[in-house]
Each structure stands twice: as structure tokens, then as C-alpha cells.
Amino acid sequence: MLVRTVRDGDEPAIVELFNRVYCRYGGFVPRTVEYWRWCCLERPDVKKDGVFLAFDGGNLSGYAVAGSSGNIWEFCVADGDEKAADALLVEAVNYLEKTEVSSVNVNVPGDAAFTKSLRKAGFGEVPAVEMFVTTLNPAALVDALVTSRKQSFVGRFDDELAVRLHDVPYGVSKEFSVRIRDASVEIAEALTAKPSIIVDLGFSDFLSVLFGGSSVSRLFLSGKIKVKPLRKLFAVLALLSAIRLEGKWFFPLSDFI
């Protein structure tokens, strides 16, 4: 295990590692060399001697970006490489101790293997700032979610849905339509003339369903989603369940400030 500070030319390997390690999460900016340079290397409190890279047999197995404000802006270790995690934490904490900060902060996915290393190094979980989402264009959001899952709709639906949202915030469109036929899915901002299904729900309930905060069936049972005709209820539940986001989200500190 070799640990050294960052050098010019390390960026492509760093970016590749970050995108690979965190590929199963949503909620962060996929790294490019340009973005990583700006959000880590050029950050006002980061110097090159605070960016540590761990190598195992010549391959980059982890890195930590420590800023003199006491934040480890990015901490990324290839799955299961406990030695790299331990070594990087020692380097980063030693570096920050010299800057005389009062504490060291880092955020990681809660289910990451290296949380064990953090606890071993004396880190404790703390309450923190959260991430929140909204949309200016519900049709565009549904389009993004539907497009990637189009194949799962083939043969399951043959409907034109009119979705009417209430309690929408300023500047947000109140309705959109979804037309599903065979393998084709079309999302439009306007309502279709003769929809086969009409769905009414609140804007925040709509977002909560898509982002995994509320269950579709629970919203229906509490009267928060209304479907006409009722016999199409299961088609609506199946569609919303198919496009809702189920995975975990992770945002590194470097995306936060």
C-alpha cells in the first residue's frame, strides 16, 4: 500500500474511481476531470498536499481530499479495501490536525463498507444538512424516468393518462399527459383530448412518490390520489411503481458547498 499526495495527471484515474465506486447511487454530479478539478483542486481551502491517494499494486484504490476548513470534501475507496480507507483517514486527519481545526467532517453512503474504518478512526455520526428536490417541469421529470425504463412497459399498458396536479408552486405546469402504446411512450405538457385515465394528485405527493418518500398504494388508500375510471387503478399503480426511484442517494461534501 502506497499513499502519496496528488500530482498533475492523476485526475482521470481519480474521476474513474469515483464514478465506479459510487455508480449504484443517485444524487451526485457524475465526475468529469473538469468538474473534479474545479470542485476539489481549485477549492479555496484545498492544497495539493491535502489530497491523498492510496495505491495498491500500482492501481488507485482510494483518495481523500482534505481542506483546511476541516472538511474531507471527497472520500472514496474501492469496495472492501479497508487498508486503503484506514491509511487515507490517518493521512487526512494528521494533515488537518496540523491546521489546528477543531473537528474533521466527512460524509459517505451509510451502507459503504468503509464506515467501519471511520468508526475505528474515532469518527461519530452527527445530524446534518439534508438534500431536497423539486421540479419546474413535471412532464420533463416523468420523461427522464420513463425513457430509461421503456422496455418494461412493452405489452403492459395501452393507455393515455391525463395527470392533473394541484397545489403546484409558482412557475410549475399543472398538468401533463402520458401516452403508452406498445413500446412507444410519449409525454406531453398538455392534456390529451380523450384520455383513457385521469389521475389527480397533489404536487408534493407526486414528487414523494417518484423519489421514494411515499408508497403509491398508501396515497391511494388515504385518498390523496384519485383515478378515473377506478378500474384503471392497477394500471396507474403499476406505472408509478415502475418509474419511481428506489435506490439510495449519496452526495459528497464537495457537491454540497
Binding site: 449504484r24 447511487y25 443517485g26 444524487g27 451526485f28 454530479v29 457524475p30 473538469e34 474545479w38 481549485e42 477549492r43 488537518l96 489546528e100 477543531s102 473537528s103 474533521v104 467532517n105 466527512v106 460524509n107 459517505v108 453512503p109 451509510g110 471511520l118 474515532g122 469518527f123 461519530g124 455520526e125 452527527v126 445530524p127 446534518a128 444538512v129 439534508e130 438534500m131 431536497f132 428536490v133 423539486t134 421540479t135 417541469n137 420533463a140 421529470l141 420523461d143 427522464a144 424516468l145 430509461s148 403546484v168 408552486p169 409558482y170 412557475g171 410549475v172 404536487f203 408534493s204 414528487l207 414523494s208 421514494g212 418518500g213 435506490g247 439510495k248 449519496f250 452526495f251 458547498i257
Partner: protein
């Protein structure tokens, strides 16, 4: 004053005023460097995504949007907007400036068909401002924050302020009969041993002579300090051993009587 201000997009000549405004609103950020780095040097910075509110030529508020690509899941990446740095001068707060800034940017960019906007905030601010104004809901969870406390230097600063107020007689004779040493053992932090008497607080290294010992994890410690914990959760934490309090009943009662003093020096930013 409520209706005098108007909103417009950022001009080059506003930059100095905006820099100052953001520094005032976010004093924990590096002075003079932060705004330039986050916005001017940001590869995706666009002046048309920054709104300023002005009152008779004076910049009183600003709201920044930053264009970013964001992952929604393992296979979906969308164009999105980060709603960042919303700042309003203290004397203009609660007058609708923040809401007007958000509405202005939304009306300016309504044709962009933005699938996703996101932002970071504490839950209280989100509940009272961001959700009613912009419809924000919690993003899927999964991120956990960790902290390692290296020293208690900031508590020392709070103690010095407190002791000055004791000398000035602000507490009358309330502390005259106090003689109490409390050690806080917070997971991931060096022990903090505080002695309180008629002259105020001092740190001491004689942990073994402490009258009361309080042990907890960092998350619980922060919640207790910020009074975010009710009696039921406090008792639950004691029962489960997440919070441990040791000492003689007399000394624990003395701590209870003087809890405000301890809370004062442990409140705010202490690490």
C-alpha cells in the same frame, strides 16, 4: 420597504456587493475567495442564473442557480439546477425578498423545461421556506455525516466570554455556592472536563475527580445540546445506554440547577 425592491439578473458591476452579501449570510465560508471560486470560476457559471434584489440601487438579496448534471439512479442522468446561496440582508428578511428572487428566476427560465431542481438545507428552513415557496420534498436518503472532534478550542472561547460576564456581575450570586466538575465523554472526541464555580468555568484535566460523567455518541450529544430531544427520547437513551450519566445524586442535582450555564458554553458552533 416591503414592495420597494425589484428583482433582476446579475450584472458585472454587482459582483462586489454580491460577494459581500454572501459573506455576511455565510460567515463560516472563506472570506473573499468563496464567491469567486464557487461562481466566477465555476465551469458552468452563467450570470443569467443569478437574481439580485435591489432597493433604490442597493443590493439587498441574491439567489444563485447553478447548472449541473445529476444522477437520479444508476442509469439516469438529467440536467438539473442547484438552487444555491440565497442571501438577504438582515434588515430586509421576512419581507418576501427570498420568495420574490425564487419567483423571478423561475419566470426567467420557465422555457427551459427543468426536470429537476435541488438544494441543501436544514429541515426547519426547508419546512418554513423552501417547501411552501418552491415545493421541495426530501431526496432519497443514504448520505451519512461523520465528525471527529480534534479539540475543544471553540468551547474555550465561549468559556472566556462567559467568565467575563460572570466578572461583570451578570449572574449575581447564582454561582456563589457552585463547585461542580463535569466530564463529557463524546464518542470520537477527546474528553472535555469542565469545572464551574463562582468565578465561572475552567477546563481541568482531573477527569477522575469529576463529580458527574456524561457519555454519549456525537449525534445524541448534538441533539441534547441543541434541545432537539424530548424527555421520552432522553429517557429512552438512558435506558438503552446510548446516554450514560454517572455521579452522586446531589451533584447531578447541582448540574440540573446549572444546566443553562453549561448549555450556554456548549451551544452554537463548538467544534
Amino acid at each position: 420597504m416591503d414592495n420597494c425592491f425589484k428583482c433582476r439578473t446579475l450584472q458585472e458591476e454587482d459582483e462586489q456587493a454580491i460577494r459581500r452579501l454572501v459573506e455576511l449570510a455565510f460567515p463560516f465560508l472563506p472570506i473573499g475567495k468563496f464567491w469567486d471560486w464557487k461562481y466566477l470560476r465555476n465551469p458552468s457559471f452563467d450570470r443569467s442564473f443569478v437574481a439580485v434584489a435591489e432597493d433604490e440601487g442597493k443590493i439587498i438579496g441574491c439567489n444563485h442557480w447553478l447548472r449541473r448534471k445529476i444522477k437520479l439512479s444508476d442509469s439516469i442522468v438529467v440536467d438539473s439546477m442547484l438552487g444555491a446561496s440565497i442571501a438577504v440582508l438582515a434588515e430586509y428578511r421576512k419581507k418576501g425578498v427570498g420568495k420574490a428572487l425564487i419567483h423571478f428566476l423561475r419566470s426567467q427560465h420557465s422555457e427551459r423545461k427543468l426536470a429537476l431542481m435541488y438544494m441543501f438545507a436544514d429541515s426547519e428552513l426547508r419546512k418554513h421556506f423552501h417547501t411552501p415557496v418552491a415545493g421541495y420534498v426530501p431526496a432519497p436518503g443514504g448520505t451519512v455525516w461523520y465528525r471527529k472532534i480534534l479539540n475543544w478550542n471553540k468551547v474555550n472561547t465561549n468559556m472566556t466570554d462567559f467568565n467575563t460576564r460572570v466578572k461583570q456581575g451578570e449572574f449575581g450570586d447564582r454561582l456563589n455556592n457552585v463547585d461542580l466538575t463535569v466530564v463529557f465523554k463524546v464518542h470520537g472526541a477527546p474528553p472535555l472536563c469542565l469545572h464551574l464555580d463562582g468565578e465561572g468555568f475552567e477546563t481541568t484535566s482531573s477527569i477522575e475527580k469529576a463529580d458527574v460523567t456524561i457519555s454519549s455518541d456525537g449525534k445524541l450529544f448534538t441533539k441534547i445540546r441543541d434541545q432537539q430531544i424530548g424527555m421520552r427520547m432522553l429517557i429512552g437513551s438512558l435506558v438503552t445506554g446510548r446516554l450514560r450519566i454517572g455521579g452522586s445524586p446531589r451533584k447531578m442535582f447541582e448540574l440540573y440547577k446549572n444546566i443553562r450555564a453549561f448549555r450556554e458554553i456548549l451551544s452554537g458552533k463548538i467544534t
